[in-house]
Amino acid sequence: MAITVKVMERPLGEVSYVRATLKGLALTLKHLVDPHRVTIQYPEEKWDLSPRWRGTHRMLTTEDGSAKCVACGLCPTVCPANCIKLVPGEDEAGNRYPLVFEIDEFRCIFCGYCQEVCPEEAIHMGRHYENAEFNRARFVYDLERLTAQTHPVSELWDPAHPRGE
């Protein structure tokens, strides 16, 4: 069998060119004079982030300004992307603290497990998205930078919340 080309039969009785053109012109004019603009003018206006938005990390601090982290090692253990580098230290009183705490934000997959697992509520995902830098090295956030950041932090999933399910 040869391939038969399907010939569409046009409904010539119902087609319209002039009327359809005028209808189209009326529609575009309607939008021209009464625009329904939904564009957000980015640098001036910003999108409201969800309370559970997971952006780049932030380390919360105690009243004296030091990191809340006790270097328990849970977050590097749970991290599926292996992006947290933690070297624990201990002071004279026997309190553990992080000597080195670095998060490679390029490796991070923003799953939020580190925040969920943290017993001290120290490391948090941030509600933040403006992360541009001029070089790659700047994307490894060290402890100083993580504590210095001030943007709001992400909330954990709360099953009790009406919208939590």
Binding site: A2, T4, M8, R10, S16, Y17, T21, P35, R37, V38
Partner: protein, 421 residues
Amino acid sequence: MTPLDPNQLPPSAFVFLIATVVKMLAIFTLYMVVVAYTTLAERKVSAWIQDRHGPNRVGPWGLFQVLADGVKNFMKEETMPGDVNKPLFILAPALAFTTAMIAWAVIPFGAPMPTPWGRIDLVVANMPIGFLYVLAITSLGVYGIVLAGWSSNNKYALLGGLRSSAQMISYEIAMGMSTVCVLLMAGNVSLTAIVAQQQATNYNIVLISVAAFIFLVSAFAETNRVPFDLPEAESELIAGYHAEYSGMKFSMFFIAEYANVITASAMFVTLFLGGWDIPFTTWDNTGQATVLKSLATFAMFAFKLYSFVFFFIWIRWTLPRFRYDQLMSLGWKLMLPTALAYIVIVASAVLALDASGIARTSRLFWMAMGAMNLVLVMILFVILDRGRVISPASSRLQRADVQRLRAATDARSTLSPGETH
């Protein structure tokens, strides 16, 4: 009605020379600015139609966007693809740009301005050959596009150039034929005379509406604008004839496109909408010429022109592109015969009205022509609306014929007995 200011003398040769140079510079500057801002207007109107904001970052409401674009285009690297025909590759944008520019020279844009040194016509070159010059120059514009397509050594560019030449030549005929009706009305091809005729009777869009419609459609095709932008159809030909161009050379094609839009609008306004005449008053074209009248008529011309440019933009962001065979069938099977038939109708009507002693300037003349046109336009639109002329070839086949053709094809391709796959 008396023509404007018959007593004031035309200027001396020296003043004429100076005035022409001043007019050239002024018009060129104004034209470039208007072209630049038309690109902004297009982007703004398209944005508003699509519920967006459009360019709004450079300056207040994005008004300096055109400067930014200009600087960007000048700073950009100009690439020269391998194996291009260099002289033609460089010549093509210049040709497109120049022809788009110089077509403007004959368009009158205001009432004559009285000066202490004599009367200055507000037209760069008041040529007696008028719109014939415009038709000649706009048809030169096709060379820019064809040469760009040819010299680029790119199959898409070549196809764009080919389409463009076919399209522009086809629609030029319909356009020329529609202007014959204007000639029948004015008895002159000089654009100044055509404006004067429209002031004396009524606007040509009332007198010869069908010709105005044909001119309008042809103007869209001539300027390669949607719905006839086949030469640069992005979805099929990348960017068509200017696919290989970059930097300022590309920009020159872009400027040429908008310059063509403005020239086509100016031609439509002059031929069919009374040019610089202010409607519903004879204040502007009788009695003593004053500077105020010149300025007012210039403003009126700019207003009419820009309304029409807006119409171009509005159409562009409303209609989809025609298919190539639809474009050709519309041009050759509908526009051209209609234009030819309309010339006969208008000529007969004018002859009949003249023979029955109705003066061209009388109210009865334009009312009779207008009534005739109303009927003709309605008939034309009803025919167009049914889409039989623009529909593809297959849809015009009878159902029985389609089945017969299919049966014939099947019979031809049936395998002979014993042959198997």
